[in-house]
Symmetry: C2
Subunit: 156 residues, 2 copies
């Protein structure tokens, strides 16, 4: 970026990081978006203590990034879904994936491949489909295990 004569302490990045700048929060959101929507599955997937996961989930629900949706009534149990607000963090996650794949590649290859559902193209540097040009968002992407995938079974 070019310099300007005036700067500011007020920063949108700082405000965003207040909510999602803690490492676990982004990993939780990523796992929920990939289908790990129940507490026990999230806990197993992330290898995180129950108390930390409980606290982080509560914060993400409070901020409207995730929502709790009942899936069973007796006893009442909930699963987690990304809200519209949460889904709008998909570009942040996606660019972190791309950066990690570029600079910290797994010897066996990329763990996950993002594909444009129904098209087979892939997101380019600007998250447009490299085959059909469509602007991609979370709902249009299917995640396929890549060559570096550990390929452990999904929760259900």
């Amino acid at each position: 970026m070019l310099r300007r004569e005036y700067e500011t302490q007020v920063c949108s990045i700082a405000r965003s990081l207040e909510i999602v700048g803690e490492r676990w929060s982004l990993l939780i959101l990523r796992s929920v978006m990939m289908g790990f929507v129940r507490f026990d599955d999230l806990q197993a997937e992330l290898g995180i203590t129950r108390s930390v996961l409980t606290a982080r989930l509560a914060r993400l629900v409070e901020e409207g990034v995730l929502e709790r949706v009942p899936y069973q009534s007796r006893p009442r149990r909930y699963e987690y879904r990304a809200t519209e607000k949460g889904l709008e963090l998909w570009p942040v996650l996606q660019h972190l994936v791309r950066w990690g794949d570029t600079y910290y590649p797994e010897p066996a290859g990329v763990p996950n491949v993002m594909e444009h559902a129904g098209c087979g193209g892939h997101p380019d540097d600007h998250l447009l489909c490299d085959r059909c040009g469509e602007p991609l968002a979370a709902g249009k992407i299917v995640v396929i295990p890549g060559p570096g995938s550990a390929a452990t079974p999904a929760p259900r």
Copy 2:
């Protein structure tokens, strides 16, 4: 994202967050990219302790996200520059800005406005220029104080 039958623990996001997932690291990178390139300026801008800033800068240099460049020889003093690897995190920062501006707006308006240098367009949802369509990256953007800017003077 749609669910798939297989999942993996190996995650590019987790690897990226190892490096930049700590809140200060992204804020330091953002400040360097905005022209706060010397230790004292960074310290004043971020309101961070000297010891934390020293540790974070060392990590970012070690990982090749920032580089130390001498600007004075007696005594030898250094400033910090974003490397190519660091500049490639610009889309992550940019999407965090957009998310923050959408969901945590300042009452006075956005603190900073990103403009396509020499064009006057702005980055769209896919970081393409909304005026000329050019794909935007860090080097093509100028940051202008917005209506919500505190408008404190830049370091130099």
